[in-house]
């Protein structure tokens, strides 16, 4: 199932939305600063605002087509939308919130499916409670479950972490990873936080000023120095996939990449699991020769694939380390002093403690 969006909509005299993108099965992230028009796109797809013109289709079937005069109301689109705020119905218990959509749609009760979703989201203990007594993280999970139980054709998440602190965010992310891996439906996910996007998304659509600036597979976008500039050079970083190896007594776990081995703290996945590891570009140091007498454990032999000079003093360096792509951010002065150029062999040094649990997938 693939969602195709092409729309034009004037939100204010000074701001117009003009976007076109596809969301195939898997997680597509709409990424951009606040005010880039991300939430408005979700609202248009959900049918809560009517674009001035355009076409929104699911596998070719339109839910909105200004030329053909088609505009399905939200309740007939079968798209799940999880808003920034949980928006749980205050007069209903958690259980009745969860079942609200199925009853509205006239779907038969599905105890097995419900149990599965409740289990996946870890909300079994909350069922008889009222929304007013839930924590932010609990309410967010209930809202996701409520949308999922309507058996939507597409799930949209509008900054589900925006109102949550870092700890609650960590509480939700694993559930979303499970959702991505097991629910089997296209997920459109709006965020302005790159670590979350890197961890969840297979595709990234970068928005700015109401336009699509760039779109493509996440792995490519995250390792592309030019795209990194758009994603935010301070936060940019490639995502590599490694195999979990042995954990030493000091708590560091070996993660084997084709280009070398990293020793990382906080790995929760078991030995043999394949996990994504995000390495922020600003946590990578480059050296021409493999250095000695250095405290950093993680060194990868790489080749410079591309260089991109941004607006600031930094240079984004795209590296290939075996089959993996890595991104490093260095100053323009260092790049010049080292004579960095495409094809040059370098050693990338990554500080272990710079990679936190937020950068590691659950596997």
């Amino acid at each position: 199932m693939t969602l195709s969006v092409a729309l034009r909509h004037r939100l204010s005299p000074a701001f117009a939305l003009e976007v076109a993108f596809d969301a195939p099965p898997g997680v597509t992230a709409l990424f951009g600063r606040s005010g880039a028009g991300k939430s408005s796109i979700l609202r248009a797809v959900a049918g809560l605002i009517r674009p001035d013109e355009g076409r929104i289709t699911v596998d070719g079937a339109p839910v909105f087509d200004s030329a053909a005069g088609i505009d399905l109301p939200p309740h007939r689109r079968r798209f799940g939308l999880v808003f920034q705020e949980p928006r749980l119905f205050p007069h209903l218990s958690v259980a009745r919130n969860l079942r609200y959509g199925r009853r509205a749609l006239g779907l038969p009760a599905a105890p097995a499916r419900e149990a599965e979703i409740v289990e996946m989201l870890g909300i079994g203990a909350l069922l008889s409670r009222r929304p007013s007594g839930l924590s932010g993280g609990e309410a967010a999970r209930v809202a996701i479950g409520r949308a999922l139980l309507t058996e939507p054709r597409l799930l949209m998440l509008d900054e589900p972490f925006a109102s949550l602190d870092a700890a609650r965010r960590e509480e939700i992310l694993p559930y979303l990873e499970r959702l991505r891996d097991h629910a089997g439906l296209p997920i459109l996910f709006v965020s302005h936080a790159l670590p979350e996007v890197a961890r969840l998304a297979a595709r990234i659509v970068v928005l700015g000023d109401g336009h699509v600036l760039r779109a493509g597979p996440a792995a490519e976008m995250l390792a592309d120095p030019e795209a990194a500039e758009l994603l935010g050079p301070r936060e940019a970083g490639a995502v590599l996939t490694g195999t979990v190896g042995a954990t030493a007594e000091d708590g560091l776990t070996e993660v084997h990449l084709p280009g070398g081995t990293l020793h990382l703290p906080g790995v929760t996945a078991g030995e043999g699991a394949r996990i994504p590891v995000r390495i922020a570009a600003s946590d990578v140091i480059l050296a021409l020769e493999p250095p000695r007498g250095l405290s950093a454990l993680n060194m990868l032999r790489c080749r410079v694939a591309s260089l991109h000079r941004g607006k600031g003093p930094g240079v984004m360096v795209g590296l290939t380390c075996g089959p993996d792509a890595l991104l490093a951010r260095v100053t323009a002065r260092s790049a010049e002093a080292m004579g960095l150029a495409e094809g040059l062999e370098v050693t990338a040094i990554v500080k272990s403690v710079a990679i936190g649990p937020a950068d590691l997938g659950g596997g």
């Binding site: 109301p73 939200p74 928006r87 205050p90 929304p131 949308a147």
Partner: protein, 229 residues
């Protein structure tokens, strides 16, 4: 209440009947008017609002006279209703209409305030979950404004219990038909030696109004807890 005379007892029972009918009758109209004022964007909205609130500021005797002009035995509307078996002039049904009109602005105001307090984002959420507009209204909006509906009902009921000017102008003061508590007190005060009866009805009136207010407070608090407000 054996200390009430038969005539007084009659007035109390009639007042109850009139007030309950007036409150219930105006509820659907009050809800529709409140909805139009809270959510509607249409030309003439200001005029509509002024019309709804007019009975609040008009002298009650003017409202009663207008009702008489519109629904009197000689007026077309009055004749039509008469032919349909619902005569209003000088009947207790007319007292219901007068009380309903007088309490209408209070009821609309209570419901409108509760409608304006509804988080519309919840209605949006219901739509994305598959609920049509009608279903959203029935399952989200209505439960959330229930305390406002109740407050509107109680206000309209209390106003109807105390209504006097419009009622006596429109349907006069006929014992057993249109003599409510207020009209009865008025009649007793006009007659020599009627003061004790007037005082008894005054006490009843105070007790009823107080009971209605306490009941509404209690119900509103219960409902507010139920909707998690």
């Amino acid at each position: 209440m054996s200390w009430l005379g038969p005539e007084e007892w009659q007035a109390v029972a009639l007042s109850f009947r009139v007030a309950i009918c007036a409150a219930l009758l105006s509820l659907p109209f009050g809800l529709a008017a409140a909805w139009a004022l809270a959510r509607g964007r249409f030309p003439g909205r200001g005029l509509f609002s002024a019309l709804v609130h007019l009975p609040l500021v008009l002298p009650p005797v003017v409202t009663g006279y207008l009702l008489l002009l519109a629904f009197g035995p000689e007026a077309p509307a009055g004749r039509l209703l008469d032919a349909l078996g619902l005569p209003l002039a000088f009947r207790w049904t007319g007292a219901v209409l007068a009380a309903a009109v007088m309490g209408f602005p209070l009821m609309v105001r209570a419901i409108r305030l509760s409608l304006e307090a509804v988080d519309r984002r919840l209605e949006e959420a219901a739509g994305t979950l598959g609920a049509s507009r009608a279903r959203t209204f029935a399952t989200v909006t209505l439960p959330l404004i229930a305390p406002g509906l109740l407050a509107g009902l109680v206000l309209a009921f209390a106003k109807a219990l105390g209504e006097f000017g419009a009622t006596i102008t429109f349907v006069a003061n006929i014992p057993g038909e249109t003599r409510t508590i207020a009209s009865a007190i008025h009649a007793f005060l006009q007659a020599p030696g009627g003061e004790t009866a007037a005082i008894r009805l005054t006490l009843v009136s105070i007790a009823l109004s107080l009971a209605a207010l306490l009941l509404s407070e209690w119900l509103a608090a219960r409902m507010a807890r139920r909707v998690g407000a």
